[in-house]
Amino acid sequence: MPERDIICIGCPMGCSLNVTVENGEVRSVRGNLCNRGVRYAHDEVTAPKRMVTSLIRVGDQGPPLSVRTDKPIDKALIFPCLDAIRQARVNLPVRRGDVVIERVLGTDVNIIATRDLG
């Protein structure tokens, strides 16, 4: 059965996971200290995902608005997602947690503000 060694990025522990895969499905995960590792191994083998954090420019001066995905997004969509964030405009004031892009790129992922601005 094919095996893969990956490092869990679920928390700062960074567990070394040994994953056995059969027909594209995870059969077993070893080395994880918590369930986060199992979920991560499954996603990483079948459809890797990452959190994306970036900035939206607000006007010509003043600090940009920091934003993030509200859940991990397909790894292949990181750069398209960054482009969507770059092109987005927001109206101030914005509060931490406000959705600034709904269902980015047609996914179930929203882009939310991570600070208060304005």
Binding site: I7, P12, R50
Partner: protein, 445 residues
């Protein structure tokens, strides 16, 4: 972006119970804990124009898993603590710089709002954080052209001010901020050509090596360093070379040039202790922060220290926990001062760094009557191993006698080790000293 609220102090009193220097994660957590412990005569003094400290520029996720059981970005983590400060009405003063402090806890500070003032504080909590090791401290050769900066400076320019500091980037050192900025600048369209690390291991978290370098095929060049810098006005390139793994000296025959316009330095953080020194607080050569006991009291009565000014942490969650302890300890100290007759006799027991242990905190325990400890009381003892250890064991001894033993999966210098010493495990009778050591085979020795 000056943050204004009614609780922002406009006129300063000449006396205050508790003064907290620094409004980053350490100062905020200390203030909240002190308030909740009953001290409402306090003030947070912050140099920047808003609270939150360096978290405000750390827009990436990875904060708060321990403290809030969810993964937050830096501004969100700071935001939660700022909210706690506001809800309680804890006073704070931004854009305020402490100029002087002495061991009688007389503090001189200046701000555009309040001018020059002097405050006599009952207790002081030092929470000034740390700064990055600059190029000068490294002795890199070459010209002094533009385009060379610390990663924290690049992070501030990119994330708070909205400028991209360069297009073709080499990063020297592999601390977490360097790794995070490799990804961040890649996200903004820059090409990160290499992350160059003189040691045989990254000094950052493994997960950051994975999600910030490997995800974007950025090479991590271990056992390498920058040996020359090229360019007159603006950086044009750097020469890197492998180092001899034993001596860490560059091997000239391996030299190669990389054309780049930006060199970011991610080569370590140094606790910012100018004020601590001014107050006569003795510093530890191991941590470069104040020498403290288990309640985070420095050797100057009434002055406490917590967060990165005490020792550089990897996780803000641990800063918050430590700083809350400092906040409570300062309030207890203030209460004890009100009834000096009740002050118990204490014995000072040094905690020493044994084999494999660096940067130990606390450096001593202050033991009063044992009966005064609750049986489940524990004190965090933190350190960094001197190398990578797989399956290493952490041993704590009291005068040679083993009192605590914990096997670990892996320890690396990039990750602080936290032991929890149980007060109940201390042997009865007098103790001369405790030692903490690592048992195991160092990976690179």
């Amino acid at each position: 972006m000056t943050d204004r609220s009614p609780q922002e102090a406009h006129a300063l009193p000449s006396r205050i119970s508790l003064l907290i220097i620094g409004g980053g994660p350490a100062g905020l957590a200390a203030a909240v804990a002190a308030w909740d412990a009953g001290c409402h005569d306090l003030l947070i003094v912050e140099r920047d124009d808003e609270l939150g400290g360096i978290l405000n520029q750390c827009i990436h996720n990875g904060f708060g898993l321990h403290r809030f059981k969810e993964e937050l970005t830096g501004p969100e983590y700071a935001g939660r603590y700022i909210e706690m400060v506001r809800e309680r009405g804890i006073p704070y003063l931004c854009s305020a710089m402490v100029l002087e402090i002495n061991m009688r806890r007389e503090v001189t500070l200046i701000s555009p709002e309040t001018g020059l003032s002097q405050i006599r504080a009952g207790a002081v909590i030092l929470a000034m954080g740390c700064r990055e090791r600059p190029r000068g401290a490294l002795g890199t050769p070459g010209t002094r052209c533009a385009g060379i900066m610390t990663t924290g400076t690049a992070q501030r320019l990119t994330n708070l001010e909205g400028y991209l500091p360069g297009r073709r980037v080499v990063i020297l050192g592999s601390g977490d901020i360097g790794l995070i900025m490799a990804r961040r600048m890649t996200f903004e369209g820059a090409k990160v050509l290499a992350c160059v690390e003189i040691m045989p291991y990254s000094s950052g978290l493994t997960r950051n090596v994975v999600q910030c370098l490997q995800d974007f095929n950025i090479p991590l060049m271990l056992n390498h360093t920058v040996i020359d810098i090229h360019g007159r006005e603006r950086l044009e390139g750097v020469t890197i070379a492998a180092v001899n793994p034993d001596t860490r000296q560059p091997l000239p025959e391996t030299a190669q040039r990389i054309d780049c316009d930006t060199l970011l330095l991610s080569v370590g953080l140094i606790p910012e202790n100018e004020l601590s020194r001014m107050a006569g607080v003795p510093l530890s050569p191991g941590t470069r922060g104040p020498i403290v006991d288990q309640s985070l009291a420095t050797e100057v009565p009434g002055i406490f220290a917590c967060g990165n000014v005490l020792h550089v942490h990897d996780l803000v969650d641990e800063v918050s926990e430590e700083s809350a302890r400092a906040g409570r300890a300062a309030v207890e100290w203030l209460a004890r001062m009100k009834r000096p007759a009740a002050a118990a006799e204490t014995v000072t027991v040094p905690v020493r760094e044994g084999r494999g242990v660096r940067g130990l905190v606390p450096q001593y325990l202050q033991l009063t009557d044992r009966a005064s400890f609750s049986p489940d009381e524990t004190w965090p003892i933190t350190f960094r191993p001197d190398d990578v250890y797989r399956g290493g064991v952490v041993l704590i001894r009291a005068d040679g006698k083993l009192i605590q033993r914990r096997k670990t999966r892996i320890m690396t210098p990039g990750e602080m080790v936290v032991e929890r010493l149980k007060a109940a495990d201390l042997p009865a009778g007098p103790i001369r000293e405790l030692t903490v050591e690592v048992e195991g085979v160092p990976q690179h020795a």
